[in-house]
């Protein structure tokens, strides 16, 4: 896809792309190269010299029960966040789409949490579920349920999933609403005249027509849950208790900056790099379909 008509000369365009290329090299290609390079070395405990170990860092990681546990945690966490926030987003979008008047008002009321930083969302939910003063934990205690997410791993997991999904509903709502509004009303009406109920129409017409957007959202939400939720986890649980909420990106941070285990942290970065690369390729395969909305 190229323009027929263009300007002549090569030094001006070279000058125009120079700033972006320069920044990309200094802050992107060089560090990424470093990550790959460092993943092949093992620094000694005093940080005086490093030893070339080939793929040993990776071999070690893939047999390290903590790393494998973190993988499992990430899968459970990102699936739960994606599915719950998409389900709620679709539910609200389907309701808003039924309205002739007022859908715009609900859109305004529902989309603003997109602007709230994950770390701040974490603080809000932490406040509600704080063991001593939180409103939610107070009423749970009154009902006879002991809430203490600083000690119980499954409660911690539930809380970070809740906080991460909450802020994400608006994003999914907006995309699903745009998708629903793009479906021609005549198709729905034709089915209604043929006697198909709301749920029948929803299952056999709306869901299939929404499938490209659903797939796109699934990928984007998984990427969100992999990386952007760092703030939620850091503010609520710091990966605990006993690493029960340590997702992969949190482990890169805690191994690299807290424990200073640079070889392992670099190898983890490379694994994440490969994972996100795969997700992006999948996303771009489908972006063509996405632009129709």
């Amino acid at each position: 896809m190229d323009k027929r008509v263009f300007f002549k000369g090569w030094w001006l365009p070279a000058l125009l792309v120079a700033p972006q290329l320069l920044i990309s090299f200094v802050f992107f290609f060089y560090p990424s190269g470093q990550a790959i390079w460092n993943s092949l070395f093992l620094p000694d405990p005093f940080g005086l010299k490093t030893e070339f170990v080939g793929l040993d860092n990776f071999r070690f990681l893939l047999s390290d029960p903590y790393y494998l546990a973190s993988f499992k945690t990430t899968i459970i966490f990102s699936t739960a966040v994606s599915v719950s926030s998409m389900a709620l987003g679709l539910y609200l979008a389907a309701l808003a789409d039924r309205l002739i008047k007022g859908a715009g008002v609900y859109q305004t009321l529902l989309i603003w949490p997109y602007a709230i930083a994950p770390a701040i969302a974490g603080v809000l939910w932490l406040f509600m579920f704080n063991g001593n003063i939180g409103l939610a934990s107070y009423y749970l205690k009154a009902l006879g349920y002991e809430w203490n997410h600083t000690l119980k791993g499954d409660q911690a997991m539930f809380l970070v999933i809740l906080a991460s999904s909450w802020g994400r509903i608006s994003y999914n709502f907006l995309f699903f609403l745009a998708g629903l509004q793009a479906i021609p009303k005549s198709i729905i009406e034709a089915a209604a005249i043929d006697g198909a109920s709301f749920w029948k129409r929803f299952g056999t017409i709306v869901i299939p027509l929404l499938s490209p957007i659903t797939f796109f959202l699934l990928v984007v939400n998984i990427v969100y849950a992999f990386f952007d939720t760092f703030g939620v986890i850091h503010t609520i649980t710091s990966g605990g208790p006993e690493q029960s909420t340590t997702i992969l990106v949190y482990k890169v941070f805690s191994d690299g900056f807290v424990s200073q285990d640079l070889g392992s942290s670099a190898a983890q970065s490379v694994i994440l790099l490969v994972l996100v690369g795969i997700l992006t390729v999948i996303q771009f395969k489908y972006i063509e379909r996405k632009v129709h909305y």
Partner: protein
């Protein structure tokens, strides 16, 4: 709407209102907590209606910082200024470098054009979180820790905006360039007098998305800033909450949380049209 049953209509509204309440509730509680005394919070349950300490708590947070000594006593207004500089720096920086490079890619033929395009395109793929340790080293070697430059530049290195402007420029009819060239218009004149004015809505849409992206950065400022005076509001709030059994000064913390939410929420609501356009087209 196909059916016109009255009950269905009210149920639709009811469902939506429940959704809106679920979204609003944590923020409402935060607001209430930011207007009461510490005692009202540490002896639960928290009241459901705002208290009388609004001005007291916000003035405290804004100009004096957290009184309990958790987190250095940096006034929140300082953090908000840091956040604003970082957010606007990222936004403006990204928009400028992407406009320039997208212009070069679409309107020029030059050696290694495809190679340059792919090099930039690849940066779409990796969030800063993945290459965090080596990026930190680069910035440390350049002596940019605790500087605005160090906060801003590594986050500009992403191709989302370039990609979007390129897509948009491709849809502009060729006749525009032809006419401009026939009138003897130089490339940069074409860029400033024609391309930028017709890209206005796209620039506004990206502005909203990138401002939120910049304001809400967490991990990068967390690593970068050891000097309390350089902290941004979103990352600093965590240091106001002690771990363990100590009490944070919750009214100040919650006032800070409100102050961290207000600017990006205002941007989203006041520029809603551009926000929706930007989000649906850029997904970042």
């Amino acid at each position: 709407m196909v059916e016109k049953k009255k009950s269905g209509y009210w149920l639709t509204h009811l469902g939506l209102i429940l959704g809106v309440l679920f979204i609003f509730f944590p923020v409402w509680l935060t607001f209430v907590a930011s207007t009461v005394t510490q005692d009202a919070i540490i002896y639960p349950p928290l009241p459901m209606l705002p208290g009388t300490e609004f001005f007291e708590n916000y003035a405290n947070a804004l100009f004096r910082g957290s009184p309990e000594g958790y987190g250095a006593k940096v006034p929140v207004i300082k953090m908000m200024i840091n956040s604003a500089i970082m957010a606007i720096g990222i936004t403006v920086g990204k928009i400028i470098i992407s406009l320039l490079s997208a212009f070069a890619f679409v309107y020029f033929r030059f050696p290694f054009r495809n190679l340059c395009f792919w090099l930039i395109f690849i940066t779409l793929m990796l969030p800063v979180e993945v290459r965090i340790v080596p990026t930190y080293e680069v910035v440390a070697n350049l002596n940019l820790l605790n500087t605005y430059t160090g906060l801003i530049f590594p986050l500009i290195a992403s191709a989302t905006a370039t990609f979007l402007f390129r897509q948009f420029f491709m849809t502009i009819p060729d006749e525009m360039v032809e006419a401009a060239r026939m009138d003897g218009c130089s490339p940069m004149r074409f860029f400033f007098d024609i391309l930028i004015p017709i890209s206005k809505t796209n620039i506004a849409a990206l502005f909203v998305i990138l401002f939120i992206f910049g304001w809400n950065q967490y991990l990068w400022p967390l690593l970068m800033t050891t000097d309390p005076d350089m902290r941004t509001i979103v990352m600093a709030i965590d240091s106001m909450i002690p771990t363990g059994d100590d009490y944070a000064h919750w009214p100040t913390v919650m006032a800070t949380a409100m102050l961290a939410m207000v600017p990006p929420v205002i941007v989203v609501i006041s520029m809603q049209k551009f926000f929706v356009k930007g989000l649906l087209e850029s997904d970042k």
